[in-house]
């Protein structure tokens, strides 16, 4: 998709979020989009995204949330899973959606009710990092990123994505030395799943693999050799 998305600097977002302190989910849901003409976009590039398109994204994400129990916090994992696949399949422009300020705009203006529902508490606002933090912490950006990294080539693109729970995603995706090499990240998930062991084993293996990466460049290894390197970290 070749359009420009609006961006929101964290320093600006924090004030907007602070002004909304205490709003209910319903009130957050009813907030309208700001005039796109007044928003910040990259100065050059393809055409600006339309409000209609952004609203259609909000509608779909809200639908996934309702299917996962919104406004009750019942099946948060289900929302994460369906929203991650949906965002990845939108084919968003990589250079823009890998920036945290693009996702800051989306979470602050497009789906603040979903951020509060997913990460807030009844008497407590969602952490600012879920709006303006790094990609891996942003409430929506992290979902897009996990699907982007875990996407398998071929007919079953989401088979690896479905194997991983929240904690494991955090363990893998917050280590950029691993997550930037999608093939390696997927190999780790497969090996961990095959091992049938818990998250402690994954965390230990991640340490061993990160040490290995300092000593060895695995990017040129065949799939079979890479798999051997990763499996050895789980032994």
């Amino acid at each position: 998709m070749s359009v420009r998305f609006p961006r929101l600097a964290a320093a600006k977002a924090e004030r907007i979020i602070a002004d909304r302190d205490g709003l209910s989910l319903r009130e957050l849901e009813d907030l309208g989009l700001p005039e796109l003409e007044t928003q910040q976009f990259a100065p050059t590039g393809p055409p600006r995204v339309s409000a209609e398109y952004l609203l259609s994204v909000r509608e779909r994400l809200s639908l996934f949330a309702r299917e996962a129990g919104y406004p009750q916090r019942r099946e948060l994992g289900r929302f994460d899973s369906t929203a991650a696949v949906y965002l990845a399949e939108l084919d968003l422009p990589i250079g823009q959606v890998i920036r945290s300020d693009t996702w800051a705009w989306m979470t602050v203006f497009l789906v603040p009710h979903l951020v509060q529902w997913r990460w807030g508490k009844v008497d407590h606002c969602a952490s600012i990092s879920r709006y303006t933090g790094i990609l891996q912490r942003n409430a929506l950006g992290r979902l897009w990123f996990r699907a982007y990294v875990m996407r398998e080539p071929g007919e079953a693109p989401w088979s690896t994505l479905q194997l991983v729970n929240e904690d494991a995603h955090v363990a893998i995706l917050e280590r950029t030395s691993i997550s930037r090499d999608h093939r390696l990240a997927r190999a780790i998930v497969s090996a961990w799943h095959e091992s049938g062991r818990g998250e402690d084993a994954l965390r230990d293996a991640m340490v061993r693999i990160r040490v290995q990466l300092l000593l060895r460049d695995v990017s040129e290894l065949t799939d079979a050799s890479l798999r051997e390197v990763v499996l050895s970290a789980f032994r």
Binding site: A42, P43, P46, I94, G95, S100, D101, T132, D217
Partner: protein, 302 residues
């Protein structure tokens, strides 16, 4: 501080590897001129629709194989691997690899072509010399696995073209602060709480849109207006960073708010701890301000 593990095999030293441009790489944006960009430098002219070509060349010095304890016939072969990443290493955008023949005095060219639309904020290139196939008869210190790193180097540069480095916006102060509360003010600086954010995201400067003359002077880069702006920005960032417990010792990313705060604090006040700076700000505000004015060289602007 993270420690690197000691490799269980011989490695090449810096003097064994010759990079044609030293600490720099050649970068060309679209059809633009080739830029020689040093490590930590800035690539100008980047546009999302144009490709970016990053190039260099590598030659092994004569003693490199002796350093590895290898003779010419023992079967070891080496490879040059270059990986380009963007968005602070969040995504790999290009790879290049080629054999590095034994005993050849020729330089091996490296050229990475990056899709400009996939870049965000920076470009980094990790360059490694690795074992392609190990020696047939090595000793205990011979590198024994494919991919074993013998030498590596890293270069990073910011890319510019899409956004100003200091984010400045003109707004209506009456609307922002409430009618009459700050309508005659000039500059409002907002600093984010997260020191890891890029400076463009973590620092916003608002100018009063009613102060058209000041904005025009800034646009013309008039010395007085520019000095006043920077004096305000530095003061606000230094105090805010101290207030929000930014760490003077932590290794914040290049181009981040935290790194900029460390640089400004250190250059204006020396390496004084944040608590001392805050105490000076509260107890000796005039000296605090005059030190910043001095750094800006305010006296020569009037």
């Amino acid at each position: 501080m993270a420690e690197r593990p000691i490799p269980p095999h011989r490695i090449l030293l810096q003097e064994d590897v010759h990079l044609e441009y030293g600490e720099s790489w050649h970068v060309a944006c679209g059809d633009g001129m080739v830029q020689l960009v040093e490590r930590g430098g800035i690539v100008t002219g980047w546009e999302p629709g144009r490709s970016v070509v990053v190039s260099n060349s590598v030659r092994l010095e004569g003693g490199a194989y002796a350093r590895l304890g290898a003779s010419r016939c023992d079967g070891i072969s080496l490879k040059l691997v270059a990986t380009a990443c963007t968005a602070r290493d969040l995504d790999i955008v290009a790879r290049h690899s080629c054999p590095l023949p034994i005993g050849s005095a020729d330089a091996r060219p490296i050229e990475l072509t990056l899709d400009g639309s996939k870049l965000a904020g920076d470009i980094s290139v990790s360059l490694s010399i690795v074992v392609e196939s190990p020696a047939l008869e090595g000793d205990q210190l011979s590198p024994s696995v494919p991919g074993a790193r013998l030498w590596s180097s890293r270069w990073r540069a910011r890319i510019e073209g899409g956004r100003a480095r200091l984010a400045v916006e003109a707004i209506d102060f009456d609307q922002y602060f409430g009618s009459g509360k700050a309508s005659k003010g000039l500059i409002h600086v907002v600093v984010a709480e997260d020191p890891h954010l890029e400076i463009e995201q973590g620092l916003i400067v608002y100018l009063n849109s009613a102060g058209g003359g000041f904005i025009q002077e800034l646009a013309r880069k008039e010395a007085r207006a520019t000095a006043l702006l920077w004096e305000t920005v530095l003061r606000r960032v230094i105090v805010a960073g101290c207030d929000m417990d930014f760490s003077p010792a932590e290794q914040y990313p290049d181009g981040s708010l935290g790194r900029q705060w460390q640089q400004w604090s250190a250059i204006v006040f020396g390496r004084r701890p944040p608590a001392e700076l805050l105490a000076m700000h509260r107890g000796d505000l005039s000296e605090f301000e005059v030190r910043i004015q001095s750094y800006i060289n305010m006296k020569d602007k009037f």
